[in-house]
Symmetry: C2
Amino acid sequence: MVVVQEEIRRSNLAALLRHVHLDGPVSRAALGERMGLNRSTIGALTAELAAAGLVREEAPTETGRAGRPSLLVRPETGRAYVLAFDVAVDWLFAARVGLGGVVLDRRRAARPRAGPDLDRVVEALAGFGRELREAAPPGSTCVGVGASYCGMIRPGDGMVRFGPDLGWVDQAFGVELGRRLGFGPPVSVGNEAHLGALAEQQRGAGVGFRNLVYLHGDVGVGGGIIVGGRLLDGEGGYGCELGHMVVNPYDGRPCGCGSRGCLEAEVGERALLDAAGRPAGLFGRDALRDVVADADGGDPVARQALRRVGDWLGIGVANLINLFNPGVVIFGGMLRDVYPGAAAPVRARIASNVLPVARERVRLRTSALGDDATLVGAAELGFAELLADPHGLLARTAARPTAEPRRG
Amino acid sequence: MVVVQEEIRRSNLAALLRHVHLDGPVSRAALGERMGLNRSTIGALTAELAAAGLVREEAPTETGRAGRPSLLVRPETGRAYVLAFDVAVDWLFAARVGLGGVVLDRRRAARPRAGPDLDRVVEALAGFGRELREAAPPGSTCVGVGASYCGMIRPGDGMVRFGPDLGWVDQAFGVELGRRLGFGPPVSVGNEAHLGALAEQQRGAGVGFRNLVYLHGDVGVGGGIIVGGRLLDGEGGYGCELGHMVVNPYDGRPCGCGSRGCLEAEVGERALLDAAGRPAGLFGRDALRDVVADADGGDPVARQALRRVGDWLGIGVANLINLFNPGVVIFGGMLRDVYPGAAAPVRARIASNVLPVARERVRLRTSALGDDATLVGAAELGFAELLADPHGLLARTAARPTAEPRRG
């Protein structure tokens, strides 16, 4: 029975930390209500997490209500952090992220499109990792490492099975990055759009939705789809490839995957730049933003380009609403910039192509986390072990305090 | 503690009955292994279910192995049954279905396409219900009623929100059918393709798969998609409408939904009959089977029609594989007849349009349950209450034995 009670206590500790991590700052009273625990149990749990440096408590600001106000519990960012990495098509990103999903420090480097090999990408990321750890405050601990990659990732070992934008096939990215970082925690890797979808659901435009479609525009278009509260992964972890849904099979533009008329071929970066008459040598996020800015300024060619891309985007989104009956569709990555100017044709296609019953509840939103969505999603991978068992992880890190870098 | 033990016993009773219902006949030894229970507990549970008339035990046939063979536990079909109904476009079906999913007795009637109203459909089904109950053996009990409908169904009350093939919008099908049956159990209603998918997963071509796409061809094309072991329902229960995925937005055939180029417009009954040059007045399953038979006999027009439809079907299926990374895709309803003659273009589209990693594990199969898939799925809805708590339901039905019809 003592064992059972100890298990319940550890499970409560984990649940409380998750609440504070995802929703904090939150009052002790609200925690008690959500977890079905009484004041003294909540008090003991928060005290233990506070002693471990994972949360801190503070008096709330004036509430205007009578009675003694409940203490606010906040995630503490100074003790436990994760390293998060993001390999996008044109950029490498790295960050130190604290509990609560706060980006505390960050690095980035441009990546040439003529794709560098695994070795050079991993070397650059590992360099950022060293810098970020050295700049971390004394006494803080790296509790995990997560990475986002713009391709299809094998669950478990972070193998990049297929990353067409960098030309990678079956590259042991997760294992190599862990080896080069060389300080302990294994690296968890996920597909960028899967991670963006999870991050938006946890902290962004998808909070409160159990059925969500996230479209992530980079050079191509990736997808993360949440069905009944869980990420759609499929048999091998390779689901959600909405960018390769063919919408224009006979007259379509060629796609990087070798097919034709894929959604990403019709709405990706090149499609928009071509529709706007930009020269073939121009590419990248800034070039896209120029088209959007020109359209905002009234340029008819840029406006027409957004409408054209918007029509194809609408066809794809309408298909997804018919299939998934989602509560919200979120436009992320470069689609966050493109969507506002393309919203009218998207809405028109939804009105004409989606069965009325399936579109009753759907909302269309742009990403709330913006370009940080994938990085924040990668950080969640790094926090998974701590959030599953804060007690166990703290006991282990307490046993090896000198393994952490110190300054000064 | 006594309460907890009683709850565990009831939950074990339900779990054992579910095993026998879905997988039976199954040996006591296998049940013990799957449920993690010892011989004496399994013996007590099966004895209780046997006394209630829900299972029976029998000696196994010769096993060729040494030692005392384990008794086989079979579902007993004589005591508890459900009524299952299926409203398809051209037919109304009704059946008495026993534990184990066995169709014990059935009725059907042709339905004119100039759609009859709710009242006449419900009257016909209720008449079948009476006949089936009167023909049931003495002492048997109807423990639930399930119905399948070719349209979008509101969960909870079986309201047909949108049934374009019959022209129904917001018709209280479930409630009205329950009222006309007039003998107690509420009617659970589901979409035909959702129920077909669940039935194939439980007893058909999808056994063992946690990620499955089921395409159900009738006049149009419906879908049932299982993601991570659970039916994709979405926010309102209206997901899986793969027939209205637009694959040919500009040159497509008009669709009954008001849109153009939907998958069902390109591969449905009318598309195939038109491609085969059949006159506009011809329709129905027999007309389709004639085209398939002509193609099998070498008729070039019929062959070309199947190839044309197969190409569009392949485009749709490839999109679904990219999205869902399923273990199996199952062709049901009229697509069961059409698929064999259309398999080559479907496979060609999968090879050209699906990302290699996403198609590694996928199998393509025709429905194993055939035209019974939707009816068997509807029967499962009727069995849900019994399978959740056989003890409770039996106690209630034992308290009102005279409520059941008797013969002789």
